[in-house]
Structures are given as C-alpha cells and as structure tokens.
Subunit: 391 residues, 2 copies
C-alpha cells in the first residue's frame, strides 16, 4: 500500500536517518555502555526543554502517561486543583483530575476561545490553597496555543505547581521551562521531537519535587518518586525503573542533536514561517481559520473551518486518495466542522506544505469552486511558477 504522507497533527513524518536508528540491533538498557548514552540523551532533551535546572525523565509510553503521572503524583492526596481548558484535551484532563480529587476548579472557555487570564488569577487568589494547575499548551483539537508565558507567573505567584501538557508544541514553539518556572512539563516523541511514538519526556522543577515528595500517592510507575528514586539509588547502572526502548532512545538522541544544531531560535522561526504559509495559503483559497486571533494560533498545527462547498471529511478523503497526503478531521464536537493540518519538525518545510496547499486548492477546484491555479501560493513570497513546477 502506498505510504500516506502525514500532515496530521502527529505523529509526523519522520526523517529516514531517525527511522534507521529504530531498526538497529537492540542493546541492553542498563550497565556501563548504556548509562552514559542515556544520560547524554536526557541532557539533550533538557536543552530542548530549556530545563537544565529541572530533573527530566524519559517515560516509556504515550505523552498522556507522563501528564497523568504528574497529576497522580501531586493530587492523589485529594488536594485542590485548577484545570484550565478550552478544548478536547483540556476537558479530558479535567475528567481525569476529577478521578483523583474532589477539589477541582475549572477555568473553561469554549473550544477554540481564549481563556480569561484574569479568571485564572482571581480563582488562584480567592482559593489560596490550589496546589496544582493544569493546562494544555497546544490544543490539538482546535489549533490553539494557550499563553503559558502569562499563566505560569500567576501560578507561581500563588504557589500552585503548573503542569503543562506540551505534547504537540515542545520543540516547535518557545516554551522555556526553567525561565517560565513551569513545575512539570511533558511531551511525547512523535510530534516536534521528530521521532516515532513511545517515549514521553517529563521535566520536574525543584518546587514540583518538594510537592511530590510530600504527597502520599499510591502506585509505582505513574509516581514521580519512583523515577527520582531510581536515579538516586541505581543511577550508575539502571537510572529508570523499567526496560527502556533503546532504539527509540537512540532515535531521540539523534533528533535532539539535530534540533540543537538547527538552534532553537532558528527552529521556532522556521515553524512560524511555515505556519504562516499554511494559514495564508488557506486564506487565499477562501478558508477561514478556526482560531481567529493570530496570537493564539499554534505554529505547529492549524485548524480550519470547513468550506461551504467541500465537507471536511470529503477533503480529507480526497487528499488521501488522490495525493496520498493525510490530514485530519475534527475531533468529537468539531467533527465535520473543521479539518486540521500538522506542520511540525520535518513537515514545517516547503516539501510538505506546498504540495498540501496545492492539493487542497485542487480539491476545491474539483468541487466546482473557481480558483486560479496557484492561488494558494500568492503573497507567500514565493515564485508561484517555480512552486507550481516543483509540485
């Protein structure tokens, strides 16, 4: 079966040098050959997180495991939590947090609408004893990026440990974990870290550790105390409680090396450039973005309202069948109302974005919408003829 090029909001297209690391013969996940390599990988990931003052663990499993580990490690004692939500994934964390503690306050906005920062402040101020605040950075369901830079200092001011779900943003947009005083930040390898799925890096600040240490949470794997204990007790032999996917760790080592070689600033600028190209290209075609204010549009994925002449599910189908390009529809209550495009890591690039835009243009034309060939490329600073001849 022909490969469908992944322009969904993760997993992403992975470069072949990274994929090759996955198929090397296995190595043991302990001992003197492994530990320095593991620790070096952790250090590279810390640099991508800008979290060199924090602890950082590589948890085998999906990103959700790491976020829930933070929740479980801090809220199993029934402490008070604030969940900030404006999308499918934020709402899911709200449900999950409610299984751990009855003391949950939410500051919610409609899906795709900005959260009122002053509401966050007033809840924290009024309650005083909120131990943990949780927010999704990039809401993959809506295309929104929440303003952690504004939320984090407020949480810090009122002594709440901030947990950030950065699954679809970390490594693609600025999120300096230490500088912004983020208590716990977690992501997954299959998005902006440019690897296959299977590892969830999670950082923990000194403040967060002090809070974790005091919390009598049950459980072993999803307990940050276990992870820290293994570093302390078994650091030179087996600095993690379980078998590590060594091939994926090697892939992550390579991808983070490449990310740091590119440079974080240059990388964020590249993501911004191609995000702009996607948005402007689609607007050229008459589409409307789901997130209207630019400051809330994520540079790693975009959600677009369905065109009146072309239902989202038909567009998704057309791109896959005719062009072998896979984009995503809407989730849950947004099904049929939007479609979503990822532009992260290797797909924040001309070779990914231009053919995708042109395929969408073609889909519209085939639906009877009158558009000039190459209209999607206008105003993008491209040589439109050259772009068309390269498609």
């Amino acid at each position: 079966m022909k490969h469908n090029f992944l322009m969904i909001p993760g997993p992403i297209e992975v470069d072949s040098d990274i994929l090759t690391e996955m198929s090397a013969p296995l190595i043991a996940h302990y001992g003197p050959d492994w530990v320095p390599f593991h620790n070096e990988t952790v250090n590279l990931v810390k640099q991508v997180f800008c979290a060199q003052q924090s602890d950082l663990f590589l948890m085998p499993g999906p990103g959700s495991v790491a976020i829930e580990t933070a929740i479980s490690s801090l809220l199993s004692d029934g402490s008070k939590a604030l969940v900030i939500t404006n999308g499918f994934f934020g709402d899911r964390w709200l449900k999950v947090v409610r299984t751990y503690t009855k003391q949950v306050i939410s500051v919610a906005a409609q899906w795709g609408k900005p959260v009122q920062i002053e509401a966050v402040r007033s809840v924290l101020k009024k309650e005083r004893d909120i131990k943990v605040a949780i927010v999704v950075h990039g809401e993959t369901s809506t295309g929104m990026v929440n303003p952690i830079k504004e939320i984090a200092p407020i949480c810090h001011e009122y002594g709440a440990i901030l947990i950030v779900d950065a699954v679809s943003t970390l490594g693609g947009v600025p999120l300096p974990v230490d500088e912004w005083k983020i208590g716990i930040c977690a992501t997954a390898t299959q998005k902006c870290l440019e690897c296959p799925p299977g590892l969830a890096p999670i950082s923990m600040s000194a403040d967060a550790w002090r809070a974790v240490e005091k919390c009598s949470s049950p459980g072993w794997y999803m307990n940050l105390r276990t992870w820290k204990e293994y570093i302390v007790r078994w650091g030179d032999w087996h600095p993690h409680p379980v078998t590590m996917p060594t091939g994926l760790t090697k892939a992550l080592h390579l991808s983070c090396t490449k990310i740091l070689e590119e440079g974080l600033e240059a990388r964020f600028a590249r993501h911004a450039r191609f995000a702009h190209m996607v948005r402007r290209g689609l607007q050229n075609l008459g589409f409307e973005l789901f997130i209207d204010q630019e400051e809330y549009q994520s540079n790693t994925f975009t959600a677009i309202k369905t065109h009146e002449r072309l239902p989202a599910n038909l567009l998704v189908k057309y791109l896959k069948e005719k062009h072998h390009i896979q984009i995503a529809g809407g989730l849950d209550e947004l099904a049929g109302k939007i479609f979503r495009i990822g532009h992260m890591g290797p797909t924040a690039s001309s070779r990914a974005v231009l053919p995708t835009l042109f395929a969408i243009e073609e889909a519209l034309r085939e639906s009877g919408v009158h558009i000039k060939r190459g209209a999607c490329f206008e105003g993008l600073g491209l040589d439109v003829e050259a772009a068309l001849s390269n498609i």
Copy 2:
C-alpha cells in the same frame, strides 16, 4: 562499537525482518487503514496467549505498566490481595500492591525456592474474601517458573482473580490463559514475543472485567475501564485511548504471525530443548543451577551459581569483551552469587546457545580450570567436532 549479542533474559536479539518493520515510515494510529490491522494484531496476540475468550489490549509502555494497571484497576478500593512471591519481581509487586491497599497477605518463599501451594490454598480458604491474587510466572531474578497450572484453579475455586506477570515467559512456555482461567495476564514485547520493547499486551477475562467494572479506581491510563470503553465507543476509529507505536505494532503483527506459523507446541518444545542444552552444557562445565528442581526451571532463561574459580562479574565481563556476548549478573541480593542467561525466541537456537556455552567454557579454561575443549557440548546429542568447527 561492535554489537554485543544479547543472551541476557531480555531484551533479546531481534530478527532483522522484525527490526525492519520499526524503520518503515510512520502511519496514523486511527482510521479505516489502521483499525483492521490493529484488530488483526490483537487477534494474533490473543492466539499466542490462548486467550480468545478474553479481551486483550496492547498498552504502550513497559510490561510493568500492564501489570500495575491490573493491580490499580482491581485494588484501588482497598480490597484484600494475596501476593505470591519468591524473587525480586514478586517482592516488587508486593511493595506496589501495598501502596494500593492495606489488606495484603503474602505467601512467600526464599528467592529461588518453590512456593508452598498448600499455603496458597489455606490462605484463600481461611480469608474467603481475597479479591485478587498476584504471581510472577517466570521470576527472571532466579530462573524459576512458578506453577500457574496449580495456582490458577485454587484461585478460581475461592473466587480470587489471578493476575499473572508473564513478562519473561509468554510465548516461550505453555500458559493457556483461557483454559487455566487466568483473570489477567500481561507480558511485554521484548522477550518471547521477539520484538523490541514498547508494548505490553494484557488479557482480561470476563470474570476480571466484572470485578474491574465494580471497582471505583481513580485514574485513566492505568485503568482497564478506559481501555474497554475505547473499544466500545471508538472501536471502528480509534480502539485505544492513546497514540499507538504503529511501527512496533507492525513488528508485533509479524512476530506473532511467525510464532503461530512455528506452532505453539513446536515452539514450547524448542524452548525446552535449548533450555536443556544450556543447563546440561553448564553442568558439564561443573556449574550448579540456582534452581535445583527441574520442574521449576524456566525454559526461557537460566540462573547459574557463580563458579568458585570465576566470579560472576568477571565471567560477564569476559564474555562481553572477548566474545561480544552479553549475559547478566544477579539482581540485588543475588548480585555476585549468580549469573543469568536468556534463551528466548531467536536465542532458543544453536546459533545463540552453542557459542555462549563455548565462550563460558573458554572463560573457565582461562581462569585455570582444566576442561577438555568441547566438554560443554557432551551429552547434548551433538556432533561435538562439528559444533566446535561451527563456533
């Protein structure tokens, strides 16, 4: 760096056709292309588990996550549990279970000694309200295989759901999950399932599901209700709550196809044959097995007492440095006292076992022990000269 051939008790050497699946371009983990493939993989794994009457989930993460998910899903309400232990991993489950419930009874034997089955029965009979029993099938720390065939019917008789940690045995020795009425059974991909690490298959019987359904456990990922709910609600689109490692799922599909082509009976016989070869070969060299009774020796790995003339750590080092063969030392209280060899899947084979035995023979000889060249191969039904010329 030259590759060290993995004769540790997992992860194992993985065949190159399986490894190749890991480096194919990523595919999406949802939708009409993925779901039939995912479900077919689940069905293949069910056949290897002999668990076609059970539910089976593929959990991203290490084997421990799946076992702890069973514990968390059943014991978060503080119900009474029985932990059967005679090794490092059994003891670890005892500690983990104690974080979930205060009502814990253990039937313990010394590490490497058989558990008294009558003690299991009398505890279950006396207590009457034990909800869950937990036992490790293959105790990787000691080389022991616990008699699930005897333990399971007793648990069933007294209404306790049995959780079996089959991480280092499933697919290598008989463990017919449905027939033996095992409530929950979990393993990991990097042992007898012949894949890299990263997925933990877990089966759940109808009885176990009824018990899980009644238990008000917190949490989302490590909660079997979440996994079942996704099959019911999202079965035709996304039959699992998180992003799946699709490459590893493809690897698992291929490895299980190969396992079933070999046939489970033939496969168990092969593991028995090469386990015997390892044991007899080492006994030929004057080594003593850590597990003395044959019925308790696992056919997937072997623990051997340190030779008086060659400390275990030096043997491990010698094999790695001189032969690029990696075996394991002892864990925790057995460090220095034993060494361990894995013989699972691809390494339950002449090409793996013969060079390992011969390298150990050579190590002994270099330590000044007088042994005839090829002594390790005697009585194994081999042409010793041919074996030597093939090393």
